[in-house]
Subunit: 213 residues, 2 copies
């Protein structure tokens, strides 16, 4: 029995981390793993691992640990990793191309089905794999025709909201935003911001605190 | 009087977000902003804005709000944004190049002073601005010579830990990791992970919950 209500987002994030570690453990030939070891690999505490997994049932055996392959399958089911997801990228500058070419996304079932830009010198440009960069004005039609479920935004800050609005008008309700700008979206649309300039600020704040200590 | 102890990391992240919104407000000609408006722009609640700023003193005027320019200056001081930080990038594939070419980092005082790789066909390659890609084996010398304070990792997953170890051996105590792999580091080293494959997992989990609801 899988309870799916009120799971903290941080738990979901950690499940995804556990999954990656379990893959590596399987690759290294491990069949079982303790919560202590899994916790150590993820740099968190073992009680947290047990609590996170506890939301979804009883997976481990006391004193023995978790079956590496079985737990992978369970997490895969919980996180819906057992299906592919289609995404589209808006903004084919350096960051857009880097995401497009990222091998790990495809390996994990995230399939880029279209890439868009508004610059005349980019529209029509071929991409590896036979795709071409589309005109951003085709976004809404493409969402429908290619069943785009996730929008990835890699435009400059000034264009992020406009592109997000286009995705939302096309009923894409999940956006991964790399632009250094906040996106206003209604509650029905999920937005995750990956603004690493903010992360740099946080890192240097902490660094200075350390130096001062 | 600025209190600097026990400030939650989430508060620091939001200060960085407020700062960006204040820049935009200034650009748009605003001189004052209420906590309600600032909160709305950042998509959080106003009480949170007041609480975050309250850690560092009294900045606003009740019923009037915050001075857009003054609050920027205060946050800049709190976050140590009033100095430049040197960083080095290890792994000059697509993601490494995208970070290297990212305009917002330089604008915010984050200066890439060196880029490294271990591939023979990349070492020595010229980069815009007159720099060349260095051999990863030069990392430790370069850290000292160029005063690298932050290490950015954009290698494949399998090489992330090795590169992190090199940064740490060179006494770089702040790492921004884009590789889809966890990095083991002692407490003296700050690590921020920007693994967007994990964020995609979280996004699709939430999306499926919404569809099912």
């Amino acid at each position: 029995m899988i309870k799916t209500k009120k799971i903290p987002k941080a738990t979901i994030t950690r499940l995804s981390m556990y999954y990656r570690q379990l893959e590596l453990l399987e690759f290294d030939g491990y069949r079982m793993v303790s919560s202590e070891k899994l916790a150590w690999l993820c740099q968190i505490n073992p009680a947290q691992v047990r609590k996170d997994l506890g939301y979804f049932g009883e997976f481990g055996v006391r004193g023995v640990g978790y079956d590496v392959i079985d737990l992978q399958a369970q997490i895969k089911k919980i996180l819906s990793l057992n299906r592919d997801w289609n995404f589209g990228i808006a903004g084919m500058g350096n960051m857009g191309c880097a995401i497009f070419l990222h091998r790990d996304l495809a390996l994990r079932g995230f399939k880029c089905v279209a890439a868009f830009d508004n610059a005349l010198d980019r529209i029509g440009m071929p991409l590896p794999g036979g795709m071409r960069i589309r005109d951003i004005r085709e976004l809404k039609t493409a969402i429908r025709d290619l069943n785009i479920e996730i929008g990835v935004i890699t435009t400059p800050a000034s264009e992020a909201q406009g592109v997000a609005d286009l995705f939302m008008e096309g009923h894409v309700n999940a956006i991964l935003n790399f632009a250094p700008a906040r996106i206003n979206a209604p509650d029905c649309c999920l937005v995750e911001n990956m603004d690493f300039t903010i992360t740099m600020d946080v890192l240097t704040y902490q660094l200075r605190q350390k130096i001062a200590a």
